[in-house]
């Protein structure tokens, strides 16, 4: 990747609070953040979009708040960010399950003439990203990724490509995971614990600096690869992807710190969630096992892992305890879904 891609805005909403640092503190303190997001705290922010004929759905509120926070951090309201050259890339494979099952339940009980179309537009995965574009006037490329655990990581990769090709100057990249009550057992079995929404604003480092914004972090060396079954087994056993990458695809320092998300399918049994043990293993291996600490956050893993990586790098820089040992190369953030798609990226402080 020739263009240096910067993160200039970042937000994570979870039960721990409204920022990546709040959730990071929860994680490293070994606290359980598995509770609902306090949406009510953001009612003032939602006034501008929540004034239509009906109340916004919860998932819309989560996404919009995440967008607002990231955009404010990056001062994205400036004239230098043009709506036609700003894109949205979203990871959203499972977020609208409730709408699909809701529409299904409705039409199976309704006569054709009495079937309401109200829910139908929200049954397609791209509905959320499209809705966000309508609310914000963002008119560039609008892409939704549906690859389960690697969804928002693929969104990050696509955003970087859009910026590198000069199709966009800036891209809002989001990931969102919510619990569908109809699939509650399947979500919980797979290790889901939190509802979570995350958003990054990516732009070229030069574009950010030209409008007076210092990048928070930079992304480098993003790869999209498919692991073989043996490689998957090795990654699951070790909790680390670094050795597998260095065998055939990379030449990274063996000491580099890792942020690793290992996905499993909806309905499959997820890994046991024992934060204390996970924290101990982190220091030995220099690996932060995202699932073990946070739970299975499916589509949000890519964005959340990136945000958490930035927070951990901040901790290192500020002399606070960090479960990962520092490295000049930054943190290798990897998301792997249950079918072996792996998106990896290096995240460094700018």
């Amino acid at each position: 990747m020739r263009t240096e891609i910067a993160i200039t805005g970042m937000s994570v909403l979870s039960g721990a609070g409204g920022s990546a640092s709040a959730l990071c503190k929860h994680c490293v303190d070994g606290k359980n953040a598995a509770s609902d997001i306090n949406i009510e705290a953001y009612e003032n922010d939602l006034v501008s979009v929540n004034s239509g004929e009906r109340e916004l759905y919860r998932i819309q509120k989560m996404l919009f708040i995440a967008f607002l926070k990231a955009s404010r951090m990056a001062r994205a309201g400036s004239e230098a960010i043009l709506p036609e050259r700003t894109g949205i890339c979203l990871g959203n494979c499972h977020g609208l399950e409730e709408f699909r099952s809701g529409f299904f339940n409705h039409y199976t009980k309704s006569e054709p003439a009495l079937t309401s179309p109200a829910l139908f537009p929200f049954t397609t995965a791209n509905a959320l990203a499209s809705w966000l574009a309508i609310q914000t006037g963002v008119k560039g490329a609008n892409l939704t990724f549906i690859s389960d655990g690697t969804s928002s990581a693929e969104a990050i990769l696509a955003a970087c490509d859009l910026i590198t090709a000069n199709e966009c100057d800036a891209v809002f990249v989001g990931g969102i995971s919510v619990l569908d009550l109809n699939l509650r057992d399947e979500f919980l079995a797979a290790g889901f614990r939190h509802e979570i929404a995350g958003m990054l604003l990516l732009e070229s480092a030069s574009h950010a600096r030209s409008r007076g914004i210092d990048p928070i972090a930079v992304l480098k060396d993003i790869k999209n690869i498919s692991l073989t079954k043996d490689e998957m087994a090795a990654v699951r056993q070790n909790g680390s992807i670094l050795k597998i990458l260095n065998k055939t695809r990379s030449n990274l320092s063996p000491d580099i710190a890792e942020m690793v998300y290992l996905g499993n399918e909806l309905g499959d049994n997820g890994p046991g969630l024992v934060p204390r043990d996970a924290l101990t293993s982190m220091e030995k291996l220099n690996v932060f096992p995202l699932n073990a600490v946070v739970g299975n956050i499916f589509d949000a893993a890519g964005v959340f892992g990136a945000a958490l990586s930035v927070e951990l790098l901040d901790r290192q820089n500020n002399g606070k305890w960090c479960p990962l040992r520092s490295s000049q190369e930054g943190i290798l953030h990897s998301t792997v879904n249950s079918s072996g798609t792996a998106i990896t990226m290096l995240i460094r402080k700018a």
């Binding site: 699909r100 529409f103 791209n126 990203a129 999209n224």
Partner: protein
């Protein structure tokens, strides 16, 4: 950086950059027109103006104003037994992929190096509907849930062929197939892969039928009449379209037959309405303009547009406006047709199948017609190819798609010299 400066910079990046050139070396379809028999059969039927939209007898269609759809006949006989147990959507894609790989003549030892990007709107929705009906039977639920997952099509292909390249699944309404092609091409341009499988698939389902019917989007006179004054709506259909994209030198080194190059692409959002397109075509025109502005050969003209052309009032007039907005007086030199008049709207597969239509049109110097176009709508005044195919040399052509939520994508194909 705005307007002209941005265009100039993008043009310079595309022409003078280390981005690699992407060519098409294989195509494959599964549609109601040829029922899985292969792309040649599909193409010949398309050029003869065969109508694959037929009356349907599904119980769920009773009581609706629309009683037609496009359905793929017995295509599973062309697939091997390993595809048993997969959702219909994955099987449609698998057969199109099989045809595309055979067409590209990729050596078997090269296949694991490939990657895949698949587009879909509803994916394994038939398994999903069954899952929702059988929630009380947990022993069946797990398998159905896996097939229902939107990513199951790409995952199935990846596992079947042991692919090790980049992989992903995208869902951008009716632009899904085109965006999958665009994202796959980007992997090659950026050096992450030499060869990629890309395309889209969707099935005909009660879920989609009930949804589009509730929106009053379905045709009520049994026909799909894109750009016609009396057009009454779209007909749902199902299918898959798969393209093999390859880095040009890689294709040349292995002696591959190169159909054409994927010269450029661009996407945009209307940011207007959750269902209807921006009526003045502003969003789609931006995609067209952005795609054109990055083509190396700026002296070349678009000879043919394979339109989105769904047959709805909103889409067709919007699309005509978008084309005229960009091309102005040159509009009269560009032939336009919509193959949805023959195969219906295959949802996430549509833009991939229409991309293949562009590739074949360029290869055969023939433009398939828009059938059922009898009274031209004055609001949709374009150079229509109506009723029968047109023989025309095509150096450059474009496939357009527009979807729910205001998605727009334009792909541009150029003849390979």
């Amino acid at each position: 950086m705005v307007g002209k400066e941005a265009k100039k910079r993008r043009f310079n990046i595309m022409t003078h950059s280390p981005f690699k050139e992407v060519v098409i070396t294989g195509v494959g379809v599964t549609t109601p027109l040829e029922n899985g028999k292969g792309t040649d059969e599909f193409w010949y039927a398309l050029c003869r103006g065969v109508n694959a939209i037929k009356p349907i007898s599904e119980p769920f269609a009773l009581g609706h104003k629309c009683a037609v759809a496009g359905k793929v006949g017995d295509f599973q006989r062309f697939l091997d037994a390993s595809w048993t147990g997969h959702d219909r959507c994955a099987k449609l894609f698998a057969l199109a992929c099989q045809h595309a790989l055979m067409d590209s003549k990729v050596d078997r030892h090269l296949i694991p190096n490939m990657g895949i990007i698949a587009g879909t709107i509803l994916g394994g929705i038939i398994s999903g509907e069954q899952y929702m009906r059988e929630l009380s039977k947990p022993e069946k639920a797990a398998a159905l849930l896996k097939q229902y997952c939107l990513a199951s099509t790409a995952d199935a292909i990846k596992n079947r062929y042991s692919l090790r390249g980049p992989a992903g699944s995208v869902s951008t309404a009716c632009c899904s197939g085109a965006d999958a092609i665009k994202i796959a091409a980007t992997q090659i341009r950026n050096g992450r892969a030499d060869i990629m499988i890309a395309g889209g698939a969707d099935v005909f389902s009660e879920f989609a039928f009930r949804g589009f019917s509730a929106l009053n989007a379905l045709t009520t006179d049994g026909k799909v009449r894109p750009f016609d004054k009396d057009r009454k709506g779209l007909a749902l259909s199902e299918g898959a379209g798969v393209i093999i994209l390859e880095e040009k030198k890689h294709a040349q080194d292995r002696g591959a037959r190169i159909y054409c190059s994927l010269a450029s692409f661009a996407s945009s959002a209307d940011a207007c309405h959750m269902v209807r397109p921006n009526p003045d075509g502003e969003g789609l025109s931006r995609s067209i303009q952005n795609a054109l502005s990055s083509i190396a050969d700026v002296d070349g003209d678009i000879d043919y547009i394979c339109a989105h052309g769904t047959g709805t009032q909103y889409n067709d007039s919007m699309e005509a406006k978008a084309i005229k907005r960009v091309f102005g007086k040159k509009t009269s030199t560009i032939s336009v047709s919509s193959i949805k008049s023959m195969i219906g709207h295959t949802l996430g597969a549509a833009s991939a199948i229409e991309a293949i239509c562009c590739v074949k049109a360029m290869e055969k110097s023939t433009i398939p017609p828009t059938i059922n176009l009898e009274k031209y709508d004055p609001e949709c005044e374009l150079q229509h190819v109506a009723k029968k195919a047109l023989i025309k040399n095509i150096n450059m052509c474009m496939s357009l798609s527009a979807g729910f939520g205001g998605q727009n994508t334009a792909l541009v194909f150029k003849k390979h010299n």
